[in-house]
Symmetry: C2
Subunit: 134 residues, 2 copies
DNA sequence: CTAAACTATAGAGTTAACTTTAAGGCAAGT
DNA sequence: ACTTGCCTTAAAGTTAACTCTATAGTTTAG
């Protein structure tokens, strides 16, 4: 498939896909050149881009992704090193997930407060006094 | 307290604090000027900066934070508008938290795979065949 | 009293991750 | 053949969020 199709299938723009290639996140397993020099992408490219999106969405930088994906490709690191990376990443993401839980708590409190402010200002006031955080 | 103390108490740099001020995230409730023109911060400033950090950590931009905090300060928006914003934010954060859960799943799988690759390559192979995602 | 350490400002520089532009070649419909 | 739209590259531009530099005034420890 050509770049535009891949873009549509992944929700990225063609610009972004070329940019990722320049950054070393795509290689010959993901596309080949045709005679006219157009890139011809394989289904592997879709998987790769979706994986990148997923990890990027939880705060992985492109350079970090490049490193781990490169390892997945070649075998530059020892298995032990990769296991360490994964473990580290897991606790990082767990920490992050907990932060999200905390913020949800704060937001739910804010919501409760605003709603009671609308219906019963006195109750809102007592809510404010209960809460010491924030 | 002066800027350096505030920086230490919040884990930010003095540069960043002044930058936040320039962006409109701090006002006279958070600091006053002394005769020598030095900023003198109140404890409110600590709370404010920690709140900013917390929300920023879950992907809120500074301009978004400025808006909601400004509302918290003055009363520019109707209560209904704020409730809407909070609700929207809640579902956004819930979506994000679920993404984190998913990634944790993927990472745990990667870990399991790598460990079995070390101990029992055949088992690793069968793990690979089980998993269709990624 | 002086040097070090802090404070101030305006404005320039940095980094990541795009995003667009310019200038051209190729392809598909009419 | 012509127009429209897709493809190519290199390079410049953008945005957010800092981060630092230069220059100068203030405070404090020895």
């Amino acid at each position: 498939m050509k770049i535009k199709e891949l873009a549509e299938k992944t929700g990225l723009t063609a610009y972004t896909i070329r940019f990722y290639e320049k950054e070393g996140l795509l290689d010959n397993r993901h596309f080949q050149r045709e005679e006219n020099n157009y890139r011809n992408y394989s289904d592997e490219a879709i998987k790769r881009l979706k994986l990148i999106k997923k990890f990027q969405g939880v705060g992985c930088s492109l350079s970090e992704l490049k490193e781990i994906l490169q390892d997945r490709d070649e075998n530059t690191r020892t298995n032990q090193q990769v296991i360490e990376w994964i473990n580290q990443k897991i606790s990082e993401i767990e920490r992050k997930r907990d932060e999200y839980e905390q913020i949800l708590d704060t937001l739910n409190w804010m919501l409760e407060y605003r709603i009671s402010l609308m219906n019963d200002p006195e109750q809102a006031d007592s809510l404010l006094k209960q809460r010491h955080s924030d």
